[in-house]
Amino acid sequence: MSISKEVVEKHGLTQIEFQKICELLKRAPNLLELGVFSAMWNEHCSYKSSKIHLKNLPTKGKVVVQGPGENAGVIDVGDNQAIVFKVESHNHPSFIEPYQGAATGVGGIMRDVFTMGARPIANLNSIHFGSPDHSKTKNLLNGVVQGIGGYGNCVGIPTVGGETHFDESYNGNILVNAMTVGLANKDKIFYSKASGIGKSVIYVGSKTGRDGIHGASMASAKFDNKAEEKKPTVQVGDPFTEKLLLEACLELMQDDSIISIQDMGAAGLTSSSVEMAAKGKLGIELNLEKVPCRELNMTPYEMMLSESQERMLIILNSGKESKAKKLFEKWNLDFAIIGKTTNTKNLTLKFNNKKVGEIPIDLLSNKAPLYNRKWSKTKLPKKNSKSKNLNKIKILDSLKRIISHPNICSKEWVWKQYDHTVMGDTIQKPGSDSGVVRIHKTNKGIASTIDTSADYCSAHPLTGGKQVVCESWRNLISVGAKPLAITNCLNFGNPEKQKNMGEFVECVNGIAEASKYLDYPVVSGNVSFYNETNEKSIKPTPAIGGVGLIKNIDKMITMNFKKKNSDIYVIGRTNGHLDQSIFAREILGEKKGPPPEINLFNEKNNGTTLLELIDKNLILSAHDISSGGLLIAIAEMCIKGKIGALIKKPKTLINPIEYFFSEDQSRYIVEINNDNVENITNILNKNSVFFEKIGNTQENNLFIQDELDLSIDEIEKLNNSWFRKYIN
């Protein structure tokens, strides 16, 4: 059968790419081979538009055991323990079928982590929806939240953090990013690199069905209005099987049976087998009739491209087959020897002893196309003039509106649907700056957070990219954790458009600059392009997942005010930058202007100094100042602690509105014992950190002379009712 233009197009390949395939192969591919090429040369697997820019990210550091390029990143947390973590997007499937799309997203990222020999110990998620009044939003929100919970709860991994945002730029393209953090022995990490010739390739997990065929191409196809009528490219998740697969794999990993292991994620059997062989510079031969199938008469094409969930590919040491088989049978999972490694450096596909396809591995991996796409720079917008009459605006009204705004309000409605305490080691729950889980049977804590700042990134991608990294760093510091490394999920529009590509390039450069400066390397990540519908793209939304270590959990800090009559200090300088703040958007209706500036020196200095104070037991509570600004941060600490605060207006010339609602960066609020003031100010001064006292904690009310006197109960109600009202 010859390959027509339409067939090439249906496979998401350009005619030029098809010609390249013919040249490399020195012949035309058959349909099966074309399918394999399309999966491997797809944006999702080949990173063809992003690769040259991702190279700028710093990926090395003292703690890095394994950087990008494996199923997940690995960092050293001491005592022969390693943390394995990664974030992944499942945006398109979640838009089409929110429950299953989100659920399988969680399943996929957990497999990435336990493939490496790590037991998942925490899940996080970053979810973005369209405007609340868009007709689809409520249903999508409900489905996504229930899907994330449905999967993670069932497998029994606590969901300890995340973020939830609404913005009209996601009306036709929601974002669902899921992150998993796992724990492994540092000397027992499993990799995907194959080695040895004639070794058995085994298939374990669920059977292969006709679902999700072409999922990887879909992940890189933009939507039009017909998207929802496409074939069932969404899979149904089976968390029960995932749990069995997790236990079975971890059990098999106890000894030396496994040479290498790789989950079947996007592009299923194709990408897993090709990647294992490519990394080992080997060939691989698959006997496709051996693949456990759910349906009758499945073709090699369907088997190679199916994205059925809950499956793994393992290369076994010789002689371990029968033991492995027994183990997987005990867990009631499918097990089949479907091939072997070879020295041909080819992917050889056989079906009932007949060769049905053969492609040099090299062509699928190294020779995949790489593009240096055209991109355009975003100029730093001009600052809005201060002519707006801020004096007419009341602090009280603004506080009330912002604290109850869907993007600022408490997300308890969301995270109460996630089991966040299973495994019995959650020591800081969602709703805090970072989720913290204790490393089982130790006194160490792992803090994790996931953050985005789409408004900042959209206004000025370079600054925005830097800012997200800093935000993540700050969230870890606020709980007393030393930030160690990050993973990222880069959600962008269409890379073939200069503007979108430019947003990508500059965000990546911003991320690179900040993470390099903060010694906060990138160890894993994922790119999701083509987030656009009918030519309208989402705001650039890189998500940063950060992980930090608390060496002694007795020193962990929480954000709730602890007691009355302590001093409240602000660390970091408040300059009054309102542009791109939630205040500017919601109260002034102003969407233009630059995001707040990032000064990396201050960021690092303020953060490390706060960690020093925490380490010396001088801090009662801490919270970073993020969207909403200073007053919102204080209100949140009041709500959590059920304690009020008496706040003074600024002494400087700054306008109180700018003082209380600006979103200048690198700032924290801390609560301290007045006995410690001298000690603390000495350390802050020694390190040249800007700080000021802003008030005291007190009973019941949040109070600012002549401006506001609100009971904490009332503020809490404002903060905590949006979701319930919206859903009912």
């Binding site: 669920s206 069905g209 929802e228 149904v236 029960f240």
Partner: protein
């Protein structure tokens, strides 16, 4: 009148529940059962006494709410 609707997963889509039920039946000795699929069943009470009209309404409701046609099919049961 009452209208009954059955919503089932499309044939190509995995049905984890059906799979586990079938295995359990096997373990319980019901060897004759070689496949199980689980779906949802709905009974709607409608202010409409004409079956044909009611059926059209029910179709609408399936498409709008009860079934996600990406992974599910629906069937309106005959009047009985």
């Amino acid at each position: 009148m009452k209208i009954s609707i059955v919503v089932t997963l499309k044939k190509e889509v995995l049905d984890p529940q059906g799979k586990v039920i079938q295995q359990t039946l096997q373990n319980m000795g019901e060897k004759a059962v070689f496949n199980v699929r689980q779906g949802k069943y709905f009974e709607l009470d409608l202010n409409e006494n004409n079956y044909e009209k009611a059926k059209i309404m029910a179709e609408e409701i399936c498409k709008k709410l009860l079934a996600n046609l990406v992974i599910e099919d629906y069937k309106i049961m005959d009047n009985s």
